[in-house]
């Protein structure tokens, strides 16, 4: 087994991307993803790859579009405000069926917001990454190890389904160090062939075109519906979630990423008090792991969603629960990190049969009935 090394999440993700065959990186500086781009800038020239600091996020994502169209594994990384700028290019890649890996090391918003860890871009990532009828696959790592593992997975899934894949991390996961075992490097032969790429036809085949343009309405509808058939395959095969102590749980917490770490600590504290709490941790946010949540509805008496936002993922949880169980919410936003003790109080309330929404208002937590 490979050696465990101590790395920052941003750096582990970057190294794993290189090992997955990524040799092209286009980005623009922004906190708190800085180390990721810096790592690429340091390593790419040594391994014959491309690191290019673009003039803007808009240019960077369109460089990604070009490199992906040319058939290579390519990545960009940014943080919340920069991801908004990438929305255009993401939509074009969805429309042109181009794989790429896009990293969002989230910070607080809206606007320039702050630079502390946040989960306020859930809606954007899962429901509105760009204009138009479409989706991207979204992974949510929770440890530095997963930052590395999901980077490798993202390239594979992107190529398999010809779709952009986002890794929705946050400033905490990007900045923190944990032990990590890096994935084995892929050989060039391990990378999938891309007969659709525009890499020069060498007079050997008809010319290829990469485009998201369909001026005839029927053609556009046909292209979208065929892509949605692929989305059904993704939903069937790519849902991922981790469960922790859910088998006998009365109160089931749902949390992803950094918030899931805090929720897990709170579950342990609740168990020490004799409350049967458990945790569902979505690893894919799109497709959402509806099957895992559905499977726990019969045994759970209440659900509690914990996020570092005013409550976004809770919408998707409610869609699954569909009124069959109470769904409560606890969150902090703007870069304030919830503590396990705060979450423990929420667990106790949910366990007592309350349904509530607790969010910060002017530095005080308030929460009445949901």
């Amino acid at each position: 087994m490979a050696e465990k090394v101590l790395m920052k999440g941003n750096e582990a993700l970057a190294e794993a991307a290189l090992r997955a065959g990524c040799r092209h990186f286009f980005g623009y500086p922004i906190t708190p993803q800085t180390e990721l781009a810096a790592y690429m800038a340091k390593r790419m020239p040594k391994i014959g790859g491309t690191y290019l600091q673009a003039e803007s996020e808009v240019a960077a994502i369109n460089m990604v579009y070009g490199a992906s169209a040319a058939g290579v594994r390519v990545m960009t990384s940014s943080s919340s405000p920069g991801i908004s700028l990438k929305g255009e290019g993401i939509s074009y890649m969805v429309g042109a069926d181009l794989p790429a890996v896009i990293i969002n090391v989230q910070r607080g918003g809206p606007g320039l917001g702050g630079i502390q860890p946040s989960q306020a871009d859930y809606w954007q990532a899962t429901h509105a990454s760009g204009h138009g009828d479409g989706h991207i696959v979204v992974f949510a790592p929770s440890t530095v190890q997963e930052m590395a593992d999901l980077a490798a997975r993202a390239f594979a899934v992107g190529d398999q389904y010809r779709t952009p894949v986002m890794i929705l991390a946050d400033g905490m996961l990007g900045q923190m160090m944990e032990p990590v075992v890096l994935p084995e490097p892929l050989a060039d032969d391990d990378l999938p062939a891309k007969p659709w790429a525009i890499d020069g036809h060498k007079n050997q085949r008809p010319h290829n075109t990469i485009s998201s343009l369909f001026l005839a309405a029927q053609q556009l509808e046909d292209s979208i519906t065929s892509r949605f058939e692929r989305y059904e395959q993704i939903k069937a095969h790519e849902q991922r979630a981790e469960t922790y102590l859910t088998t006998d749980a009365d109160v089931v917490l749902v949390a992803y990423g950094a918030a899931a770490r805090i929720a897990r600590s709170a579950v342990n504290k609740a168990r020490e008090l004799g409350i049967k709490a458990g945790l569902i941790r979505p690893i894919t946010l799109w497709p959402y792991p509806v099957d895992t949540i559905e499977s726990l509805i019969p045994s759970a008496s209440a659900f509690l969603v914990v996020e570092m936002s005013m409550g976004q993922m809770i919408d998707d949880v409610r869609l699954v629960i569909n009124g069959r169980r109470p769904v409560s919410f606890f969150g902090h936003t703007g870069g304030v990190i919830p503590t396990p003790d705060e979450v423990l109080v929420a667990i106790q309330r949910a366990h007592a049969g309350e349904e509530f929404r607790v969010v910060p208002i002017h530095s005080k937590l308030t929460g009445g009935a949901a």
Partner: protein, 262 residues
């Protein structure tokens, strides 16, 4: 002399044919529009250099938005203004291929100016064919960054007022100040002589790219009879009398000329 040799000698000589790199499809361009001529010149150059199999083109948003259907080389469609960024991505992934963009004035000099300037200053080894017809064609005749002072368009109905709408941008002059630019040349296609000169410039652009000299741009001062509101012939006269004085033809930057070996 054998019989077969005689026959071969009598075989009719082909004087004019469709370039191999130009698809056998009907374009969507209006009568009198310069696009058709310029596209033909690009494909003739691709044929002459024997690079169709290694060339990748990028078409923009504008009247040439569907140009991917008109070329026989591999093609990518790009978001409005982003062709230089897309071309950068392609060229960095495929440094041994030939990459060109084909962009209008709104695409290149308005929404895509940042991408244009930075691709140029990075010396991206791409060739940019820039169609400057001083108007937005595809959306139906709005003011462009290159519309002339006083020019009437749908969105400058009283004529472009430089006090409020600013002045036209002279792209070749602007880019010629950047060290990454290997070729910036302005041509037009209003006469057979100028068409030949335009083709020579386009060929030079591709050759400089292949030699790895840097960013190359050929600006073609072009007609848009439909949105200018002229016949094809009147449009050429208007171009000669109004466009050319504001946008003088010529070489604005030539890396080889600077080195003295052009």
């Amino acid at each position: 002399m054998s019989k077969s040799a005689t026959l071969a000698a009598e075989k009719p000589k082909i004087l004019f044919e469709r370039p191999k790199a130009l698809s056998d499809v009907i374009t969507n361009y209006c009568p009198g529009c310069s696009h058709g001529i310029v596209q033909r010149l690009v494909t003739e150059v691709i044929d002459e250099l024997g690079i169709e199999g290694s060339t990748v083109g990028v078409c923009p948003v504008g009247c040439s938005v569907t140009a991917y259907d008109f070329y026989n080389c591999d093609m990518a469609q790009a978001a409005h203004g982003r062709a230089p960024a897309v071309a950068t991505g392609i060229k960095r992934a495929l440094p041994n291929n030939v990459v060109f963009t084909y962009q209008g004035d709104g695409d290149l000099a308005s929404i895509g100016m940042a991408e244009t300037i930075h691709a140029a200053t990075r010396g991206e080894k791409i060739t940019v064919i820039f169609i400057n017809n001083a108007i937005y064609g595809m959306t139906g005749g709005q003011m462009a960054p290159t519309s002339l002072p006083g020019q009437v368009t749908q969105t400058s109905p009283y004529g472009r007022d430089v006090a409020t709408a600013g002045y036209p941008i002279r792209v070749c002059e602007l880019l010629s100040t950047l060290d990454g630019v290997a070729l910036a040349e302005r041509v037009t296609v209003d006469s057979p002589k100028n068409v030949r000169a335009a083709k020579k410039a386009i060929k030079k652009g591709f050759e400089y790219q292949i030699e790895g000299l840097g960013y190359t741009l050929i600006e073609v001062v072009a007609t848009c009879p439909t949105n200018w509101g002229f016949s094809a012939k009147e449009a050429i006269t208007w171009l000669q009398e109004n466009m050319i004085p504001y946008y003088p033809l010529g070489v604005y930057k030539d890396a080889k000329a600077i080195k003295g070996d052009a």
